[in-house]
């Protein structure tokens, strides 16, 4: 091995980062396809079925098409902010996944002396990092909405940011209840705390200890990712496309990518916090990540299913629900959890 190369552990880590990044991009592409396919079957039609087997290559065809599309910027727009908003959105969407563990550890079949964990990085305040980075995503949306200087974009951006910050509170409080059970902010430790079963057949997942917390988390997660039935920023019928009305070509694709990566991240966080992460029966340790993928996929499917089944809320109902119901319930859930933990010990 030449001397100028960094040590194998560092190389393996960089490789892992690239693999995770690529998997996220591919999963977003897969989600686009799955969304269209599931939607099509729900509406009793076939959906994309021309490009590749059953249309799986459709997202790639779409990307190539978008690549050659004209990029327009309204002349009244703020050039700098208009240009960086999609970059912020995409970067924030990807970054949150960095702290999520998706498997045990590997030595790459003995190539490395020290096993590296299947996770970009295991920081001891992972939950806080996720909380912080998901809030960063709001900047991309607000800046996109404001800098376009279009009425639809402005309204979409404002609505979106108000909605996201409203639901972020309940989202954070639902996280806090799980943190309290685990006594740790590290996602790897939280997952490991869910190992084992009750009476031999019920897995010790936090979803069974925190059913209300899980519901709050999922509801807030849907609102955070701006998905139906809470898809107000986009609300096609009233706001055209919301904050990205004025975007075209690849800048538009970046918002699209960010939305799907955000969904994957929220599902992955839900999996780690409530569904035991990569833990599951039957599979050997080195294949544990398959369980992680299965669980994330099921939550994503649920997301898509919900989008094509439920009608959109009304905006005032959304805000009322977030502030008057979800927030108090989340606080009470947290306090009840604390009291129960102290009582049972």
């Amino acid at each position: 091995m030449p001397a100028w190369l960094p040590p194998p552990a560092v190389l393996a880590h960089l490789g892992l980062i690239l693999v995770v990044f690529n998997m996220l991009v591919l999963s977003a592409a897969f989600m686009v396809w799955m969304e269209r396919k599931v939607c099509a079957y729900i509406q009793d039609r076939n959906g994309p079925n021309r490009v590749g087997f059953e249309g799986v290559l459709q997202p790639f065809a779409d990307v190539i098409k978008l690549l050659f599309k004209e990029e327009l910027r309204p002349k009244a727009a703020d050039a700098l902010l208009f240009a960086i908003a999609p970059v912020i959105s995409a970067a924030a969407a990807f970054a949150a996944f960095a702290v999520i563990p998706f498997g045990t550890s590997t030595t790459l079949w003995g190539l490395l002396d020290q096993p590296i964990p299947l996770q970009v990085t295991d920081v001891n305040v992972a939950v806080l990092v996720i909380f912080a980075i998901t809030s960063m995503g709001i900047y991309g949306i607000v800046l996109a909405g404001w800098s376009s200087n279009s009425k639809y974009s402005l309204l979409g951006g404002l609505r979106s940011s108000a909605q996201m910050i409203s639901y972020e509170l309940s989202y954070g409080l639902a996280l806090a209840a799980v943190i309290m059970l685990a006594g740790s902010l590290s996602l790897r430790e939280i997952v490991l705390n869910q190992a084992g079963t009750w009476w031999g057949f019920i897995p010790r997942w936090y979803v069974f200890l925190q059913p209300i917390g899980f519901l709050i988390f999922m509801t807030a997660g849907v609102a955070e990712t701006n998905r139906a039935p809470f898809d107000f920023p986009e609300a096609e019928q009233e706001l055209v496309a919301g904050y990205h009305t004025e975007y075209s070509s690849m800048s538009f694709a970046m918002f699209f990518l960010a939305e799907y990566v955000n969904m994957v991240t929220v599902s992955a966080v839900a999996t780690s916090l409530f569904l035991g992460g990569w833990l599951g029966p039957f599979l050997p340790d080195w294949l544990a990540w398959v369980w992680f993928l299965v669980k994330v996929f099921l939550i994503l499917f649920f997301y898509v299913w919900m989008r094509w089944t439920l009608p959109r809320y009304r905006y005032d109902q959304l805000m009322e629900f977030g502030w008057k119901y979800l927030l108090p319930v989340a606080v009470l859930n947290l306090l009840a959890t604390a009291a129960l933990i102290l009582w049972i010990g």
Binding site: F21, A76, A95, A162, M180, K324, L334, L335
Partner: protein
């Protein structure tokens, strides 16, 4: 300790570089034929009336301010939640007192109509 954050930083840089590169690349390979009409902000195909730099509802400011207050509270709850085992009953009572003050403010905001969206 801080080295465990380096991968996150690398990840952000890769993601931002990827986004910036594809956007610039698309700009280079695509045909650009702008004209005055295309560069108008979209308004259902008719000519745009006025500017979007207008006043918007005060509600958004209110929500943002309420968010700051409650988000600080949430952030305060994270360390409390982690160390509840050590703080025990004392910690719970402290948190109840803290929340009581917050709930007073919450109901004040509610009664004042800060949480109502319809005017």
């Amino acid at each position: 300790m801080l080295t465990s954050y380096v991968p996150i930083f690398i990840f952000i840089v890769i993601a931002a570089a990827f986004a910036a590169f594809t956007i610039v690349f698309a700009r280079l390979v695509s045909a650009q034929k702008p004209n005055a009409i295309k560069l108008e902000p979209y308004e259902c195909g008719i000519e745009a009336a006025g500017d979007a730099r207008d006043r918007y509802s005060i509600r958004y400011y209110l929500i943002a301010m309420l968010f700051v207050i409650f988000d600080v509270e949430t952030v305060f709850m994270f360390p409390w939640a982690v160390s509840l085992g050590k703080l025990a009953v004392f910690g719970l009572i402290e948190m109840l007192l803290f929340l009581f003050i917050l709930v007073v403010g919450y109901f004040y905001a509610w009664r004042k109509g800060a949480l109502e969206w319809q005017l």
